[in-house]
């Protein structure tokens, strides 16, 4: 479990750094648009953007579309890493949270993380289809709803995490006891105990 956790965090941070470098490189070449928001664009605009990318070259010699395609494949690894990371962090916060409602919402983050990952995977599959050389500029299947729902659930999960981080409690609450009435069961009925 420990090794898996380390691998996940290395992967998670590594891919974020890689993406930041990539964005910086594309910006320095004044290449417009980015793959993160593209799925939310109107259909025609997104189709046009992909067609434009297929003609633009980066410094590495690859077209922007090829770079976007590679990045989409890498995103599958990123999905595994952030789904796991979200579950790890939610679990750690849950085990610090004695407020029942927040504890339950943090637990709900586990299936939500998996759902977010599935939606992201479906978004990637749709984008890979849209970025195939024989499709670019011809047809475009919008992954809008996958992306929209992914961001919606991600926002929700992060909000719950944030709420748990902002409401730390260092002590369990005090308790009061309702006045108990204490009686005895009385002696065992003779039908049961009489034979002893």
């Amino acid at each position: 479990v420990k090794i898996y956790r380390v691998i996940i965090w290395v992967l998670f941070i590594g891919i974020i750094l890689y993406d930041l470098i990539l964005i910086g490189m594309l910006k320095s070449q004044h290449i417009s648009g980015n793959l993160f928001t593209l799925p939310l664009w109107p259909k025609e605009k997104a189709k046009q953007q992909l067609a434009t990318w297929s003609h633009l070259c980066t410094r590495t010699g690859r077209t922007v579309l090829e770079v976007a395609r590679i990045n989409t494949w890498i995103d599958f690894l990123f999905i595994i890493s952030y789904v796991s990371a979200l579950i790890f962090v939610s679990y750690a916060q849950m085990q610090k949270q004695h407020r029942v409602w927040l504890n339950a919402l943090l637990r709900l983050n586990f299936p939500l993380a998996i759902l977010i990952g599935v939606l992201d995977g479906l978004e990637n599959i749709t984008l890979l289809h849209d970025m195939a050389p024989y499709v670019v500029g011809q047809t475009y299947c919008s992954p809008f709803w996958f992306t929209f729902l992914k961001f919606f659930f991600t926002g929700w999960a992060l909000l719950i995490l944030l709420a748990s981080l902002l409401t730390p409690k260092k002590r369990l609450p005090g308790m009061v006891q309702e006045e108990p009435t204490i009686t005895s069961t009385g002696f065992t009925p003779s039908a049961l105990a009489g034979k002893s």
Binding site: Q95, Q97, P111, L172, E178, P180, T185, L192, S196
Partner: protein, 397 residues
């Protein structure tokens, strides 16, 4: 020449035989046995109850595979937190309590749920070192004696133990301790168990006499032998820690112990699929983690009718709780409570279960809060009665 030790050994042997036969052992005789028994005797008793040799029993009781890995991962996380607290100078405040925990899945449910000890760890006044294992048997806890090693190292303020549930229901063992209804013959043959019932203190009249009287008729002589065996085990552990065992000098003066009893579970194989997304984990856990195999299926194997299944478990759990409370009494006086008991009976209700054996997180959290309250209750003035804290009687302040 009259040999006293020989007579004592013979008396012990005779008592052990009567325990195994459920032959009218009373409280006095069990207390005699408690004071004379050793680990070898316990080993003999359990081999007779389970009809297995010691190696096979320990193999049966061992927690292995992925469950053991998840248990260890959770304990590693807890014990890392323990070390962090110690490094930060834990123990300076008078309320700071160093706690050692040994137990089963109520104290270490390795995935998804927040259990009793997770809740206890949330409080900065507690540094909790955990040896608890989901699926752990009391037998294997006491045989492995890992707690002994950690007691010597940590010298904790509290030692918390929960065990016995898996010894009864693990590996379908429940089927081995029920029988066809006998009109209460076996219960009648056990004056000690009758005493447990008669001396039980019932809080807010929450005792289902009809369920108990029906259920108890299905409990076989092996159940009573096992219950007495638990009594001997708990007594031996407490005596060793609180009184130093044979040496009569405790290595841990001032240490307190906390025991715990389960609520009355409901035999079931239902998955309980519902629309509340916050309860998503219930059908998941019920599908993959043993639900139905602990209670319902073993009772079905022994042809216990569905309407009597809950009663059988009710009677067994009632007597188990009273047994643990009774052992604790042996070490307490009116003024000094060295053993506390957290009584979870009637705290979960029908809808409070994740699966057949485990509470929903909100109930585990409530039990943990009450345990924390008991730990900091000066002079144990606010117990429900004697040394017992009844979970359902307490509310957040």
């Amino acid at each position: 020449m009259f040999d006293i030790s020989c007579t004592r050994d013979k008396l012990k042997e005779r008592l052990i035989q009567r325990l195994l036969d459920n032959d009218h052992i009373n409280s006095y005789e069990l207390s005699l046995l408690s004071n004379r028994i050793n680990a070898d005797d316990l080993s003999i008793i359990i081999q007779h109850i389970y009809d297995l040799n010691e190696t096979d029993i320990l193999a049966l009781a061992a927690v292995t595979g992925s469950l053991a890995a998840f248990d260890d991962a959770k304990n590693d996380r807890r014990n890392l937190l323990f070390k962090k607290k110690i490094k930060r100078g834990f123990g300076k405040e008078p309320d700071d309590k160093l706690i050692l925990v040994e137990g089963d899945s109520w104290y270490n449910y390795p995935i998804i749920l927040t259990d009793v000890i997770d809740t206890l760890s949330m409080d900065n006044r507690h540094a909790v070192y955990s040896l608890a294992k989901g699926g752990g048997w009391l037998l294997s806890m006491l045989t492995a004696r890992k707690y002994v090693e950690q007691l010597s190292v940590l010298h904790p303020d509290l030692f918390i133990i929960s065990g016995g549930g898996n010894d009864i229901v693990g590996d379908w063992r429940l089927a081995a301790i029920v029988q066809k209804p006998d009109g209460g013959q076996q219960f009648a043959h056990c004056p000690w168990a009758q005493g447990l019932k008669e001396n039980a203190k019932i809080v807010d009249s929450k005792f289902d006499a009809q369920a108990f009287d029906t259920g108890v008729q299905y409990l076989s002589k092996d159940f009573y032998a096992l219950l007495m065996f638990f009594h001997l085990q708990y007594f031996m552990v407490m005596d060793g820690i609180l009184n130093g065992g044979e040496t009569k000098v405790s290595k841990f003066p001032g240490i307190q112990m906390i025991t715990q009893g389960y609520d009355y579970p409901i035999p079931s194989t239902r998955l309980d699929i519902g629309l509340n997304p916050l309860h998503w984990f219930i059908p998941f856990i019920r599908s993959f983690l043993g639900h139905g195999t602990w209670l319902k299926i073993p009772l079905m194997i022994r042809k216990v009718p569905p309407e009597a299944q809950r009663q059988v478990v009710y009677a067994a759990i009632f007597l188990f709780n009273e047994m643990v409370i009774d052992v604790g009494r042996c070490f307490n006086t009116d003024k000094v409570k060295r053993v506390l008991h957290i009584d979870s009976r009637n705290s979960l209700g029908k809808n409070g279960w994740t699966d057949e054996l485990h509470a929903r997180p909100k109930h585990f959290i409530q039990t943990g809060k009450v345990m924390s309250f008991a730990i900091h209750d000066k002079g144990n003035q606010q117990s429900t009665y004697d040394h017992v804290y009844v979970v359902h009687k307490y509310k957040d302040q």
